[in-house]
């Protein structure tokens, strides 16, 4: 832990010193929220749409934007810069557990994502009148789950960075999130999807994270949905960390 902490601090300094990389992470997901709500809100009025649980369509769409923001992590691109600039070798030549090198960036990514999620909730809540139906505990869980997803996705991106050592390849790999996001019940609940889409969404792990986030926004604490969401991030996170550590150990 004593060696992870300075690496976390370094990653946070790095993020704070490149605000130009942080701002799109906040504003592009908000842009998508505004556009999606603008296009579909009149189809789903809150007073006659049961799945909105009395809230606006923006509340239903908010989890998609939170997940999108959490998937814009820059950890892997900074890792490629470290590799290309030689600093990564400097880290590898230090007596630092390989897990610390991975966790240093991922922990910083979690904190950054949590801060962005709070900012998004505050910014989105005011104009759209969104409230977190699950209360303060739900709010905390919402942030925690979003940050956990950021760790999973950053772990995946770091894995690509370690394997390819290429900024272009790492950047392109990040685009995989878009099919993952759109093969979910992002516009309507799962039972309202067409059968092929419902099957695809059922097999897509992101669906369960989105449904957990959505339950926290629209309903009281639904532990079954929340549990599924956290179980998915825990399983995916474990796989990503395991593969990343293996990759860094075999790195020559």
């Amino acid at each position: 832990m004593s060696k992870v902490l300075p690496l976390i601090q370094r990653s946070i300094r790095e993020a704070l010193r490149t605000p130009e990389a942080l701002l799109p992470t906040l504003f592009i997901p908000l842009f998508f929220l505004v556009v999606n709500v603008g296009q579909a809100a009149r189809i789903f009025p809150s007073n006659s749409t049961p799945f909105l649980a009395g809230q606006s369509y923006a509340a239903f769409q908010l989890p998609s934007s939170l997940l999108l923001a959490a998937s814009f992590g820059t950890a892997a691109l900074y890792l490629v810069e470290d590799i290309e600039g030689g600093y990564f070798d400097k880290l590898r030549a230090a007596p630092v557990p390989r897990t610390a090198i991975i966790f240093g960036r991922l922990a910083a990514e979690a904190l950054k994502s949590a801060a962005i999620a709070v900012a998004m909730l505050l910014i989105a809540a005011l104009p759209f009148g969104i409230s977190i139906a699950s209360g303060p505990l739900g709010f905390v869980l919402l942030i925690l789950l979003t940050a956990s997803w950021a760790v999973v996705f950053s772990g995946f991106m770091q894995l690509i960075a370690l394997k390819t050592r290429s900024a272009a390849a790492t950047n392109s790999a990040g685009l995989i999130f878009f099919p993952l996001l759109f093969l979910t019940p992002s516009f309507v609940p799962r039972p309202l999807l067409t059968r092929p889409m419902e099957i695809a969404a059922t097999f897509n792990p992101v669906t369960y994270i989105m449904e957990a986030l959505r339950s926290l926004v629209l309903h009281d604490l639904d532990w079954a949905a929340i549990g599924r969401g956290f179980a998915v991030v825990a399983a995916a996170g474990a796989v990503m960390v395991l593969l990343s550590v293996r990759s860094i150990r075999r790195y020559d």
């Binding site: 902490l5 300075p6 690496l7 490149t18 470290d82 600039g85 030689g86 600093y87 070798d89 630092v96």
Partner: protein
């Protein structure tokens, strides 16, 4: 391989008495590494970088901060310690890289072409730093293509060609050996020792087209 950055494909390697494959962290604690490309993080300041390096070698924050001041003084970067590294010149980067490699007082310092790309003044400054570090008791393992540099700085030289050591000794031994074998009336240079040891001629080297792979 000695720096633990590459996996051994066969055989074994020991550095400062430690088997690098068996206990890489023990080897890492005994060595400092400054690679050809100064491995620095351009978004940090010089001070932050050296402190971080100290903490990665297990120092508490206060001790790492004190050590950073000491090292930044050694490499004459105190005035620029709180500037971001991205604004440093090539020579400053090289000196900072040296400072960060020395943070844990390594027994052996590996330097890979430490003066490549530097102007003559910066090169002489780095040479002075290396002499000072060596005088303080650190063994320096220097890789260089500039044989004049090896002649100036090294007590012992090994010439490697095609992955094999083809000549080894002190600079004066190597030169005296060539002078004797060739019956030269003047002292040869290390460049001539190199050409002779590797079986090359200046004409052949000039005519060779080599593919370099990273």
């Amino acid at each position: 391989m000695l720096t633990t950055l590459m996996t051994l494909t066969s055989g074994s390697a020991r550095v400062a008495g430690v088997e690098v494959t068996k206990d890489p962290d023990a080897a890492r604690n005994k060595i400092g590494v400054a690679l050809q490309e100064a491995g620095l993080d351009p978004r940090q300041t010089g001070r932050e970088l050296v402190i971080l390096q100290g903490r990665l070698f297990g120092m508490p924050q206060e001790e790492a901060a004190a050590r950073a001041i000491e090292l930044l003084e050694l490499v004459d970067l105190v005035d620029d310690a709180d500037r971001r590294i991205k604004g440093y010149s090539g020579g400053m980067r090289r000196r900072l890289d040296l400072a960060s490699a020395l943070v844990h007082e390594p027994e052996v310092l590996f330097l890979d072409e430490p003066t490549t790309g530097l102007d003559p003044a910066s090169r002489l400054t780095v040479w002075d730093e290396l002499r000072r570090i060596n005088e303080r008791g650190t063994t320096i393992f220097l890789t260089t293509q500039y044989l004049e540099e090896a002649d100036q700085l090294c007590d012992r030289i090994a010439i490697i060609d095609g992955g094999l050591i083809v000549a080894e000794g002190t600079p004066s031994e190597l030169k005296a050996d060539l002078r004797q074998r060739r019956g030269l009336t003047r002292e040869p240079t290390l460049d001539e020792v190199f050409l002779e040891a590797t079986g090359r001629t200046r004409e052949r080297v000039a005519g060779e087209v080599q593919e370099v792979q990273a």
